[in-house]
Amino acid sequence: MKEGLKQPLWAPLDPENLLDPYPMYARLRTHDPVHHSQTKEWIISRYSDIRDVLRNPAFRAGNRLEWLSRGVKYFNYDEDLRFIHEAINTFFLFLNPPEHTLIRSYVVKNLAEFKVEKLIERVVNDRLRQLNNQEFDLVTDYAQPLPVSVIADIMGLPASDCLYLRSLGVRMHRSLDLYHSYKDLVNLNEASRSFIEYFQLHIRQKSDHPDESLISKLIRNRPDMISEAQLISICIFLFIASEETTSSAIGTGLWHLIQNPEHYSMLRSHPTKVEIAVQELLRYDAPVQIVGRIATTDSLLGGREIPAGDSLTLLLASGNRDDAFFADPDTLNLERVPNHHLAFSAGPHRCLGDWLGLLQMQKAIASFVQRFPTVELLSEPPEWNKNLAVRGLRTLRVRVG
């Protein structure tokens, strides 16, 4: 840090930590695993504590939703930011039982019917066919266009909208950030408004002309307790939860493989090992690094007393590097079994689209490795997103052989 001051233990916006957060996570686990930070929240970094909090209903979800909702009210005299609240109020990531249980099972039931294997293969092969140059950007030309095409197809949205949807998704993702500036919130509000208008239009069209898409199924089977406005929020969440997370996982995963040529060639010669390998890539460097909770009762965690009402920041990606749980956690071991990592969270909020994300990672990584015998990195150090809530590469120039 500049000014010759001592770096705080929790410095999630520090450029060095954004580049590589794992040394900061290791310091937290070693020196203060249940850390009361300068921001007055609790930073939880050990695997067992994180898992216990995720499984304990006394710690409820929704701290970002509540904070953003308070913010919308607080800033109201300056600017109307209500679209943020409208867009995110039914993100089931932020909800608690009984509402969470109802909405989650409604989405799971309708999503489970989709057979996506052929779709993913087609999308990956189409993309690979377009990579004809020796040099290209692995993130923007390959990893990013894949998940948006898959989720747009499942939801029944026009393929020609993918670029627009991605640009909105990137901005909307900031709702999951840990800390915001005022300008971030204004930008988030504009993205929210555009997303709401977009899904309003498509839900109306699909109500008039139903098809076999996920949106049509969600309209048809919508329980009375879920309003149409909530359905819009659910659609926004399904889009952003499946899009940036998966593209980040593909980009980061390939980056680690390229840096470790022995792993890269192992996967080339043993394509069936990709299922176990992607689990390890997720453990080693997950896209969703952080989730939040609120304590509903006074509780004890790692010997510290946490008062009711306090916020907790759970460092999933730190738990995944905890040597009390994983042997040799800083080594990428593509054959690690079992691998009970926290990349999809745990407990009642465990990712419901894990199967969809895993299948896309498997196909995208295995096909890439098969297609290109050698890959050289041209941009070092790579450029990362400016937040740890969703960690992903922005760009990665490569030369293939």
Binding site: K2, L5, L13, Q38, K40, W67, K183
Partner: protein, 81 residues
């Protein structure tokens, strides 16, 4: 711009947002006891960003948690630019 000017602007921004009495603001005063929370901090930082045409890390209030420390941080941040 001098350090006094910057200190004056920081103080005035805090007073405007929190409505706190000027006499209760001293250099050692922790920002949290002046009625600044995570929401009012955003408004104050935005005002400072607009006034000095700069960008501030949303965590800088919490990393420099007294009026004096924050003012020192802001002075070196603005000079460093």
């Amino acid at each position: 711009m001098t350090k006094d000017e910057i200190a004056g602007f920081v103080k005035q921004s805090i007073i405007e947002e929190t409505g706190i009495d000027a006499s209760s603001i001293n250099q050692e005063a922790p920002l949290s006891t002046l009625g600044i929370d995570s929401l009012s901090a955003i408004v104050i930082l935005n005002r400072i960003e607009d006034h000095y045409h700069t960008e501030l890390n949303p965590l800088c209030f919490w990393d420099h948690p007294t009026v004096g420390e924050f003012t020192n941080f802001l002075c070196s941040h603005l000079k460093a630019e």
